[in-house]
Subunit: 315 residues, 2 copies
Amino acid sequence: MTARISLAEVQAAAARIRQYAHRTPVWTCNSLDVQVGAQVFFKCENFQKAGAFKFRGACNAVFSLDDDEAASGVATHSSGNHAGALALAARLRGIQAHVVIPRTAPPVKMAAVKAYGGIITTCEPTLKSRESTLKDVVAKTGASFIHPFNDARIIAGQGTAAMELLDEVPELDLVLAPVGGGGLLSGTAVAVSELSPETKVFGAEPANADDAYRSMKAGRIIPSEDPRTIADGLRTSLGSLTFPIIQERVENIVLVSEEAIISAMRYVWERMKIIIEPSAAVAVGAVLNGDLDISGKRVGIILSGGNVDLERLPW
Amino acid sequence: MTARISLAEVQAAAARIRQYAHRTPVWTCNSLDVQVGAQVFFKCENFQKAGAFKFRGACNAVFSLDDDEAASGVATHSSGNHAGALALAARLRGIQAHVVIPRTAPPVKMAAVKAYGGIITTCEPTLKSRESTLKDVVAKTGASFIHPFNDARIIAGQGTAAMELLDEVPELDLVLAPVGGGGLLSGTAVAVSELSPETKVFGAEPANADDAYRSMKAGRIIPSEDPRTIADGLRTSLGSLTFPIIQERVENIVLVSEEAIISAMRYVWERMKIIIEPSAAVAVGAVLNGDLDISGKRVGIILSGGNVDLERLPW
């Protein structure tokens, strides 16, 4: 099966979003390197606009629309970061964003959408309610639906983070990204496999939401049903566009326990003095926990985001 | 009264610590700039080794010792960051650090001292207990006492942060640093007043520990007695070396309420995605709260540290 997203699309996305997105820094942590016996390079998407890598894809999608399409605005459903990212990208283009959010989403993420001028419609936290609510919103507004991950423009946009990472830190042995719906992981896999074929790409997934792991084993998409994990950005399951890319270009999926996620999140807060959200900590947990053999290697990790509800910390 | 610390001493400190200390980054925050109507540049000493600017002074003091003095180690008393910083600096020189810490200090700060190989002796949280315990330790070990702030080597070392800030961001209208014992503020004042005479220096102090403010008004040191503030690094009062420098070279002291400190800390965590401790948030609070007229100005803020006990957050 051939991948449906090309490096050229990632490069076009990079050019399209350059004037809007941050080129985030790549950081290292000496005490972590000593502890894991490797050189780890963190691509800090927690410092991205709207607080997560999601802004890359959303920005690429919004600025890919022609003027007629754009005039009716954009719409999406999202548990959080994609919603804020889309709202900000829409505001930067001067168009309206309509966002369907489950009423159980972290308040901090809802507040971000509002702050960026997005219009929120809440739904029940079920697939059915989300889809019917979104359908209503699109019918009413004529907005273009921008799926949070199963969209070529989104995947290409997310791939720009790994592109920048490789540009700054060449000759990585492996790159690790968290996987939920697979937008970040598939975009990362396209960029890395084309730009640095000898670099292996791994996904990091909560053991409690292991649909990507099971889908890879089975060779077909096996969705998770109502997974319970603190990594709220990773509760979604792979999509029809992201799965084949991951199947073809990702080495393996590493499962990370809830304890390891929380402990990695705290490690990064305490040692690196930066705020990462649980979803970002999943990839760090995969490394700190020793589940992946990285001894002596050069490892890139995409720290996917930093949007945390400070009222509800897991310790 | 002439200042007792010269720019040359700050420059010598910079040369001495260069190979050990981080040159920390200077960051900006667009949403904060919009909110306060100014350009604010944050010198991120929360990313300094041992998590605070204190490493600069401690490192300068430790590497100022001649080999004979160094052989007996160093000793200090500290509520926290100076202790960790001194322990790390001593380890880098391969000598022993003895630290007297009140038993009420945040556990995370004690843990840091131990992790860096420092030997801890706990005392009661009173001046008397601290001094007698320290005296015993010095008598027993022959270690050189390195005061947390009232020491020319410490003051010169702390001044290197502002030196780097001015090097990277010239033509600042004012520089703001938190004030406890005054090591950071006096070092900052020496560096700024000599290198950029048109830049004004302000101190930011918790209203609940306002000894610097009162001392400036009175023209003599008026210590705080058992001040209660969340900014645990700023509970100490000015010393005989720091006060005259501050009196001569600091424009004014801005008082910041506990509510404003907590709110500023949270603002930085949520918007900038970086961890700062309450003492660092005091200077941010002075700006966010509108207590200082910075409209249209270029403002430098020393974010003094990022050592926070994540078990005891103030919200």
